[in-house]
């Protein structure tokens, strides 16, 4: 029962008495110290180095503002900025223009096969856009693309190509269709969460369907629409893979590909690259600030497959035409590119055309077992993602706990630092980790640790926000009860909080693992042949011309991702069910007055 103070309460000394046990426990110091150190290493240090480097000259290493003035004086450096903005605006317009009507159709109307459309849109969601771009290169490259070949066979051999994916239009198209799922998800969950009663109340007051939609439904989802526009804009601005695949070959630079170019120069202009990150960071920071203003603290939308129970708007004769239109997105983002990738990956040599003799699983065997490079990349991808997701969820959860329960003075600073990576585009993260960890005393270049750390840092905000939202659902008195029974802070966290988070933690792990395994831009400057991952291997192999192998790797990555997405739901549910009510069918003692559960 602690140390007994022997002060008499009535003595003069009692006036300034201090309970003898008010010391800070050692364990607490160690945990907070470790969290602070990790946050420093994962967030503060890389960002600090980028900032520091941006003020240094690449050749002399001296302090300078020259890098920044160069950005605004050189057309070479201004043009990518304008191209990036164009790509971002166009992406956002497409994403919202398609995503919002699609969300309305799926959430609010009697569209046929709504669930299927939802699932297909989710499939587009988890498809890395650079793999979609690879598929579309097969479909719409100016000469060899299948759709162009088909066009020529219809219009005559002398007709020019119908489509050219290697263009700004092509890049906008790809970025757009793979960003639609973001706006779709945000708006459809806003529609799903909206209480049916709000619309019913309008109906009982004599408002018709259209009137209700205009004066109730649309105003209520407007914040979600604006927020999804901002998010899509950021996607278009910060994507690296798609422009690298589609724009670099034709010499159209954007900010992200220009950054990669600085690293490929000889000697590389790494300090210049750091400065060139800043306009990008400035814009994303501003946009996230706006989004926060609009959405409040609700930063992430949980993906749920639940559909609304209320009445649906009857589309009538427009039902099937609407279904056809709703299928367009899955057609261009899933069916066509997947089919192209699958077919090419299954041919021994693509040039020989489609025939039974040419079909084989050769490239899969080759990728998995035959080639040490691809084999290593696959193993690395799985290992790094597992470790990174675990580290990310552990750290994110602990920080969320410290912040949510205000365990220490300045806890919100921990939260703020943990959220910073959300404004840092993947490619900038890569620049930051390269800057911070390719020098003494922490030279991690070439080690798996560097990639694991970079991945974990990038997705830390997701793990943190997810952990926070679970913790909000767990009343602090469940923990206080344990404290009052004699459990310390650590014991309480481990035996009460963690089990109660249960399935939520697992779903958080998947929520982080899936984007990590498909992440390209963060890894791009950090890999070495030994620490290559699947995404960077695909990225680097695309110029080699071995399209069959690239496609086989892409299909493998897609399969892994889709399998994980499919497994996440049931696994999470399994752990969640176990913690609430166990089968009451099992031998339970007959009890008086048990309420039905």
């Amino acid at each position: 029962m602690g140390v007994i103070s022997t002060d008499s309460p009535d003595s003069a000394a009692a006036a300034t008495a201090r309970p003898a046990m008010a010391r800070v426990p050692l364990a607490r110091t160690v945990v907070f110290g470790a969290v602070a150190l990790l946050l420093f290493l994962l967030v503060v240090l890389p960002f600090g180095w980028v900032l520091n480097n941006s003020f240094h000259d690449d050749i002399t290493g001296a302090w300078t503002l020259g890098n920044y003035t160069r950005i605004f004086q050189s057309v070479d450096l201004l043009e990518p900025l304008f191209n990036s903005l164009l790509l971002a605006v166009a992406t956002a317009v497409i994403a919202v223009g398609i995503g919002v009507p699609l969300a309305w159709l799926v959430s609010r109307t009697d569209l046929p096969f709504r669930r299927t459309i939802r699932v297909l849109t989710m499939t587009a969601f988890v498809t890395p856009s650079f793999i979609g771009a690879t598929g579309w290169i097969l479909l719409a490259a100016p000469n060899s693309g299948w759709l162009n070949a088909l066009w020529r066979s219809l219009a005559g051999a002398e007709a020019g190509p119908l489509l050219n994916i290697y263009s700004m239009t092509g890049a906008i198209f790809i970025c757009g269709i793979y960003t639609v799922p973001y706006s779709f998800t945000m708006v459809s969950s806003a529609l799903d969460e909206m209480a049916v009663e709000l619309e019913d109340a309008a109906a009982t007051l004599g408002s018709g369907t259209l009137r209700t939609m205009l004066s109730i439904t649309i105003p209520l989802v407007t914040p979600a629409v604006i927020a999804s526009f901002i998010l899509s804009f950021i996607q278009g601005l910060t994507l690296f893979g798609v422009p690298a695949f589609l724009l670099t070959p034709t010499g159209i630079p954007v900010v992200t590909t220009k950054l990669a170019e600085f690293y490929q120069l000889f000697p590389p202009e790494i300090y210049m690259a750091a400065a060139y990150c800043m306009p990008l960071l400035l814009v994303t920071a501003m946009l996230f600030w706006m989004r926060r203003r609009i959405l409040g603290r609700k930063q992430f939308i949980t993906i749920s497959g639940k559909s609304r129970a209320g009445r649906r708007i009857a589309l009538g004769a427009a039902r099937w035409p609407a279904f056809g239109a709703a299928l367009l997105l899955p057609l261009v983002s899933v069916f066509l590119p997947y089919a192209a990738l699958l077919l090419v990956s299954l041919t021994r040599a693509w040039g020989q055309g489609l025939s039974w003799e040419n079909l084989s699983l050769h490239w899969y065997w080759w990728a998995l077992f035959g080639n040490s490079e691809t084999h290593t990349a696959i193993v690395n991808s799985l290992l790094f993602s597992t470790f990174a997701a675990t580290l990310c969820v552990m750290l994110g959860t602990v920080v969320a706990y410290i912040v949510e329960r205000r365990m220490v003075f300045g806890a919100s600073l921990f939260g703020a630092v943990t959220t910073v990576p959300i404004i840092i585009p993947g490619i900038v993260m890569s620049v930051g980790f390269f800057a911070a960890y390719t020098r003494a005393p922490l030279n991690l270049y070439g080690t798996p640790l560097l990639l694991v750390a970079a991945f974990a840092a990038t997705f830390l905000p997701i793990a943190y926000a997810h952990g926070g939202s679970i913790l909000k659902g767990i009343g602090p008195e469940l923990e206080r009860a344990a404290r009052s029974l004699g459990a310390g802070e650590g014991r309480t966290f481990l035996s009460i909080t963690i089990p109660l988070m249960g399935g939520g933690l697992l779903s958080g792990w998947f929520l982080v693992f899936i984007p990590i395994i498909r992440e390209l831009s963060v890894a791009v400057f950090l890999i070495t042949p030994k620490t290559n991952v699947m995404t960077t291997l695909i990225y680097n192999a695309k110029d080699g011309g071995n399209y069959e192998a690239v496609c086989a790797m892409s299909v493998l990555l897609l399969l892994i991702t889709l399998a994980l997405v499919a497994a996440a739901g049931p696994l999470t549910r399994l752990t969640t069910v176990r913690r609430t009510s166990r089968k009451s069918g099992r031998k339970t003692a007959p009890a008086e007055g048990v309420l039905p559960t």
Partner: protein, 359 residues
């Protein structure tokens, strides 16, 4: 003196002061009810006792151990104080037995002793049959008993109950009141019971501390609180009460509008000070205009009946005294007055008290 001693306890949250210096003693083995409306500071007092908040000023002692002062707080797990929460806080991922045994496992007791104490505690709260159930399979009352059992199993030196019955339905609430009192009598634990329900406090407590706006209004036995309230707030908060505001005329007299009424004066107010005449509705007698009652030893007021409600055992009559004053009277059901009829109200002087406003 042993037991809980709270000395000049103050607690501020920013600019808001939840407690303005409370002094309280809870002798060992007694059950103290902290009673007051929401926002009175009773829950803050409990959180300070449990060690989840640090006081801004003042001290909390348990026997000879200083638990809390502005300079530091003994963490909750080291206080030997069990807390039962308003919403039970029963862990949904543990069975009844696991919930109850948690505190015993923390104390690293031998297995046999854990089993023995678990059985004994479950028997005390009559939960033996439900030991392997999960909380989601229990009713609210059963969950409440799990929470109580969990708190008792560790044999705390102090038990805190935070509105333990407020989430139960009325019928169960009445039953559990007696059960809590029974458990207290059985174990003799020093107990602090927070509630906003006066009848809960009257039934369960040895002593009641009435609080309002962060000030202690009165500390006393249930009889003290009901029969000798220290001020008009306490009188009105406990049981039904009429409170006629006026000014002191000194010498046990109060001016209410045009009348000067007399009553035992417990306000301590000087001549002209703000005081109230308090009288329970059950003590007020009403007579029709045609009757000539014996007004010996009574204050006499007259008014018109505003409304009358038949409640079976009595009639609840509201009399309009004019100038915005009203008087409630519980009269025998055989007696009846139509709204609008003129009545004379007799207030026996011995049942009236002149009281000051709340602290």
């Amino acid at each position: 003196m042993s037991g809980i001693r709270i000395k000049n306890l103050r607690k501020s949250f920013g600019t808001y002061t939840a407690l303005h210096g409370i002094d309280l003693q809870v002798p060992n083995g007694t059950l103290l009810a902290l009673l007051g409306p929401s926002g009175c500071g009773k829950s803050t007092t409990l959180q300070l006792l449990a060690g989840f908040e640090a006081p801004t000023e003042g001290e909390i002692w348990a026997d000879d151990v200083l638990l809390s002062s502005a300079r530091g707080v003994l963490p909750p797990e080291k206080r030997g104080i069990s807390l039962v929460f308003q919403n039970y806080a029963v862990w949904p991922h543990k069975t009844v037995a696991e919930n109850v045994a948690f505190g015993l496992a923390i104390r690293r007791l031998p297995k046999a002793e854990i089993a023995e104490r678990l059985d004994r505690t479950l028997r005390t709260v009559r939960l033996e049959a439900l030991r392997d159930r999960y909380p989601s399979e229990l009713s609210g009352g059963q969950q409440q008993r799990v929470a109580l059992a969990r708190a008792l199993a560790v044999e705390p030196r102090i038990l805190l109950l935070d509105e333990p019955l407020s989430n139960l339905d009325a019928h169960l609430r009445e039953e559990m009141r007696f059960e809590i009192r029974q458990v207290h009598d059985l174990l003799g634990l020093t107990t602090v019971y927070v509630t906003h329900d006066q009848s809960e406090a009257l039934v369960t407590a040895d002593r009641i501390a009435v609080m309002k706006s962060g000030h202690l209004q009165q500390l006393g036995s249930p009889e003290d609180i009901f029969e000798r309230p220290s001020n008009a707030f306490v009188a009105t908060f406990i049981g039904a009460n009429n409170e006629l505001a006026g000014t002191s005329e000194g010498n046990g007299a109060i001016r209410v509008g045009g009348h000067v009424l007399t009553a035992p004066d417990r306000s301590g107010a000087a001549h002209g000070g703000t005081v109230s005449l308090c009288v329970r509705p059950s003590q007020v007698r009403l007579f029709g205009a045609d009757q000539a009652p014996d007004a010996e030893g009574c204050n006499v007021l007259s008014g018109t009946v505003q409304r009358s409600a038949y409640l079976g055992e009595y009639r609840d009559v509201l009399v309009d005294l004019g100038s915005g004053r009203t008087l409630r009277a519980f009269i025998p059901p055989a007696q009846s007055f139509a709204p609008g009829s003129v009545v004379t109200a007799l207030l026996p002087i011995g049942s009236c008290q002149i009281l000051g406003p709340a602290a």
